[in-house]
């Protein structure tokens, strides 16, 4: 019994220690004066995590918007309220689905790739050799990736929302015959730019920080073997998904739940 409690304590200490390491890691890599060189490295990572994730995020956004419109229509039409379709599609996308689904897709597409890439650099001693050349790998390797993720995910979330709302328009207006003016009009009168679009962006920024942080930290902190890399990649996806969903609840409660 005592042994189990001691085991629990040890786990707790290890967890705290890992979180402390991750915090120091974030502070050391994210803070610093960007150089010209750093800007170029950041650009390359933007391409890697942003542009290359664009296709999957856009396609998912289109389908989710279309499904929302289809499902929403069948429910709203019972109340004769199908004019409210635009409002429903826009609010569910902006407040909830875009930040969350884009972050989950981002964790799967870009986060796991970041972990594997940094892990492989560690396993092949590239990070060590960079240190020995006198270049801080936190600055050179980690920081551009961190910042690229932080900027790219909110942009992807915006794209997701736009494409999703357009997908809802295609299904609702073009196919199911909701009046065009009431789709946009209802949407415009119920969506508040700060309250809905803004809060969605805040969510997205938080998720971007958390997902990229988890991804690069898992890559940097892993055991440099092929098994270690595969485990860390899995951990990145699992931890980021859980963190995104958990934080989403907290943020929603604070933003829309009247807890302010």
């Amino acid at each position: 019994m005592i042994r189990h409690i001691a085991g629990l304590g040890r786990r707790g200490c290890e967890l705290l220690e890992a979180m402390g390491r991750a915090g120091v890691f974030l502070a050391q890599s994210a803070v610093g004066v960007p150089s010209r060189e750093g800007l170029y490295l950041w650009l390359r990572q933007m391409h890697f995590v942003g542009v290359l994730s664009l296709a999957i995020v856009m396609v998912s956004g289109l389908f989710i918007g279309m499904v929302l419109a289809l499902q929403g229509y069948t429910i709203l039409v019972d109340f004769g309220a199908e004019q409210a379709l635009g409002q429903m599609v826009a609010l569910s996308l902006l407040r909830e689905l875009s930040p969350v689904v884009a972050a989950l897709l981002f964790a799967g597409r870009a986060g796991s790739a970041l972990t594997a890439e940094i892990g492989l650099m560690k396993a092949t001693e590239q990070l060590s050799s960079m240190e020995m050349i006198g270049v801080d790998p936190l600055r050179r390797v980690v920081a551009p990736r961190l910042w690229a993720g932080f900027v790219a995910l909110p942009l992807l979330t915006v794209g997701f929302s736009v494409v999703g709302i357009y997908g809802g328009y295609l299904v609702g207006v073009e196919w199911l015959g909701v009046f065009d003016g009431s789709y946009w009009g209802n949407m415009q009168s119920s969506v508040d730019f700060i309250g809905d679009v803004g809060n969605g962006m805040v969510k997205s920024l938080v998720f971007a920080l958390v997902v990229t942080w988890i991804a690069v930290f898992q890559g940097y902190d892993l055991i440099p073997t092929s098994e270690g890399i595969s485990r860390a990649t899995t951990r990145t996806v699992v931890y980021s998904s859980l963190a995104v969903l958990g934080l989403d609840f907290v943020l929603t409660a604070v933003m829309f739940g009247g807890l302010s």
Partner: protein, 154 residues
């Protein structure tokens, strides 16, 4: 070198698309207007009950959108609701003094908005004037109550 140019272009387009997307969300989805506020004028109207009317609701005339509600406050002189509306500047000096304002509902469960209809008075409303003739929102509970009390008295 050529590849990196392509990459820079890609990232640039990506960021541009993101910013344009945000503008789209602002203008088209949340209906922010960027136009200068100079070509609007304000009218006020007092309602005894506004129901579920919210700021930024539409103001229409014959079903056409002509402005929006900019503020709603309690008028402590009369204890009713004062609704401030911003209307399209081209209508300034063209609405007759006996114009009526009503709070209407689009559909059974839709949003509430203000509907204006013109009267026949040659005098016109100017910026900051108040509409006298108003019709309050339809409150479902009151309707039902009336209906029930009518039934009982019958």
């Amino acid at each position: 070198m050529k590849r990196s140019k392509m990459m820079e272009l890609g990232v640039g387009l990506f960021m541009l698309a993101g910013i344009l997307g945000l503008v789209f969300l602002g203008l088209r989805v949340s209906g922010l207007t960027m136009g200068p506020s100079g070509d609007t004028f304000t009218l006020e109207a007092n309602f005894s009950n506004i129901g579920g009317l919210k700021p930024r609701a539409k103001v229409t005339m014959a079903g056409v959108n002509v402005g929006r509600v900019s503020a709603i406050e309690l008028d402590t002189d009369w204890y009713d609701a004062r609704v401030v509306m911003e209307l399209d500047g081209t209508l300034e000096g063209r609405l007759s003094r006996d114009t009526t304002a009503a709070i209407l509902t689009s559909g059974l469960l839709g949003e509430q908005y203000v509907g204006l209809s013109v009267g026949g008075d040659p005098e016109t409303l100017a910026d900051g004037d108040s509409i006298r003739d108003t019709q309050s929102a339809l409150v479902l509970e009151e309707l039902i109550q009336q209906f029930v009390s009518n039934m009982v008295s019958d």
